[in-house]
Amino acid sequence: MNEINQNSTRAHKANEAFKTRMNRQAILSFGVCVHCGMCTESCHYYLATKDPKMAPAYKADRVRKLYKKYFDWTGKLLPKWVGGGELENEEDLKELMDITFGSCTMCRRCSFNCPMGVDKALLMRTGRSILYEQGIAPQGVIDVAKDQWETGNQMGVSEEEYLETIEWLNEELQMELDDPIAEIPMDKPNCNIVYAVNPREIKYAPQSLLAAAKIFYAAGESWTMSSKGWDNTNFGLFSGDNKLGAHMGNLVFDSVERLNGKMLVTSECGHGYRATAWESPNWTGRDLKFPIFNFLEIMVDYVKSGRIKLDPSLNPFKVTYHDPCNLGRSGGITEEPRYLLKQSVSMFQEMYPNRADNYCCTGGGGAMSMSEYSKRRLETAVVKANQLKETEANIVATACHNCVDGLTDLIKHYKLKMKVKLVGELVADALIIDKKFITPTFKAPEIEEKLILMVDDEVDILTYLSTLFNDNGFNTYTATNYENAMEFLTTQKPDLITLDLAMPGKNGLSIYKELKTNEEYKDIPVIFVTGVNPDNPGQLDHRKFIYEHSLPKPEGYIEKPVEKELLLKIVRKCVEVKVDNLN
């Protein structure tokens, strides 16, 4: 009985919360729909499944029923006549969560195909917000939002780890540019640019921050990063929590003001740019004294003004471009990446449809953090996969870290022969700098004695990794299963473990859990080096596993076939950061 009461209480609270969410734009989008169904075929969820319940108008109606019940004049008297209704119980809440979080990436493609001008993403976000307020959301969204509240960034990166990573990146940068004074400036006041990044760049994709640093270096830019308020991402956008939106916005804006920067530049992150440049000023209610740009706009300016020079022959690939929804449909950035790609790659292939008509990468709206819906996400990604396939490109460039993850997942799933790169990375690869880059294959003295334990059931992979690590100055030990690995750990403590997830017997996730819950081993950095079974992507969903068992995130995640430069970068980062920690 208590449970029923609690259930109905949550539903009641969600209904009440809805009544407080209306502004003029919202009531118009809720009220003007005529159920013509013209939006249906603009949605990749519908196109892939042909399920009528995936039609945008149907999904919007699950939220709209509250508007009809509480705001529509006829609906107040005759709710059923106009499709009005309330959230009555836990089942209703669950259904609404499945629709607003699990069946819509808020990409706005349907909004742009609606003759009435209904902004369905606004309706979905309203639905998300009333659920989130009751604590109802996919676990990943709740966890990431919690991280943003508590640590100021979505991956829970501590200030120490952040600064150490930047320090390590400085060394990489100096090495690559052969310039001992090249650096990523930290907390430098009065710079032209304060650069805010996606925490993924600190944690898993340092190559994109390194690329940006090279470009700033080549342009002779006066720039800095901030030790506080450096995360441009904002889960307030995805959870519907405007308070979190304002909190994250304030952190970044405060940094710019504290450092007296002339402008704020967000790195290549679609929702990060939208949230920081467009939504956060509204959520925070601040009238900013500085402009906000996306890194793409800055790069275009560098090229046009001759501050950087590019050689397209350095990228001898056929490259296509995927417009991130938050840039193409919500940020007004469509031509800049095209301009840059045409200057930095030897062959640019347009994707169709494109710009504001492009299909979502399927990872938008926070979908990459919702492991509950991974299977559906990949099923609906067939639309994007077909679109990519038609380009026959070797590389799909994009300007959003979320899209990188979404596209990488679907490329793996649909076995496409292409790689994903950020526009900035391609621009950095095409840079002409007087000082020649040095390929980072040297043996750094401080890492020579470091020991890596590699756990993988495939012997040829172990051989490959051993050779790679040994050639780069590491000592290695290989284990083909759980028993071997644990036996080794009783005798020696490695500096790093690379772990395959799909192994017979006790799989990698179980080993990971054992490591991270054991006082003796929990500090050893772990990198997942694993393949994905395209036929069963959810089989070893590490994100879900980690959330469910409240484990810390791994220090790195690399998919097979391994990209060796990236792996080496992440390995070096983990080992060096750990060394500093010990010091």
């Binding site: 003759p115 509204n282 950035i333 710009r355």
Partner: protein, 219 residues
């Protein structure tokens, strides 16, 4: 039909219906304006005015959206249907308050004799689509069915009326349905045309502000 009843339908009933519609519409506009609009605090990146105009003209540019580009026949139906609605209302006004003989002019009558039956057929197609297409069925509520059936019946009698201008029974039915329609519209989904100008305005303003709209299309 009794000329007295026809006269009441033409004048008193029609005026009452118009009064109801006008009152509710004014009330609705006041109600809409009571909600605070979301205001952008950032400087505009695009041309808002151009975007708002484009947003309004979108209705007349079937090439603008993928949905209308691909389903050009639905857009064509939409265009004819709404022209039909406008003229069927105009005809009722002319009959009630204007010079009835105007409709009798061959050129107008011929035009209505083509437009209204086509509009009637389109309402049938729309009704069939709502009943038989799974997506349209699942998104339809009683109000959607009632509204399209009402339009269907209305066009049927409007068509009959313009074919047989001096049949008072048909005229009476046509005027009665028109009056009911006018009074019912503000309470139904058909009130979208009072919301549409606001909705398209804010759509254009929002996306124009952010430099997204009008869309760049280089296919």
């Amino acid at each position: 039909m009794d000329p007295h009843i026809i006269s009441i339908l033409k004048h008193e009933v029609h005026l009452i219906a118009l009064f109801i519609m006008g009152t509710v519409y004014i009330g609705k506009i006041i109600w809409i304006m009571r909600f605070k609009p979301m205001v952008e605090r950032t400087p505009s990146k695009g041309n808002k005015q151009k975007a708002i105009i484009n947003s309004y003209l979108n209705i007349a540019m079937p090439w603008e959206m993928e949905s209308t580009r691909k389903k050009w026949y639905v857009w064509t139906e939409f265009a004819i249907f709404h022209i039909g609605v406008a003229f069927a209302i105009i005809v009722s006004f002319i009959v009630s308050f204007g010079n009835e003989s105007l409709i009798d002019k061959t050129i107008f009558q011929n035009f209505f004799m083509v437009l209204f039956p086509i509009s009637f057929i389109i309402t049938l197609i729309r009704l069939a689509r709502r009943i038989f297409l799974p997506v349209n069925r699942i998104i339809s509520h009683p109000d959607d069915y009632f509204s399209i059936i009402l339009m269907c019946v209305w066009f049927f009698f409007a068509s009959w009326f313009v074919y047989d201008l001096y049949n008072t029974l048909i005229m009476g039915i046509y005027l009665a349905i028109t009056a009911f329609l006018i009074a019912y519209v503000p309470f139904s989904k058909m009130s979208h045309y009072i919301l549409w100008p606001f909705s398209r305005y804010y759509f254009g303003k929002h996306f124009g502000h952010r430099g997204v709209y009008p869309k760049v299309r280089v296919q």
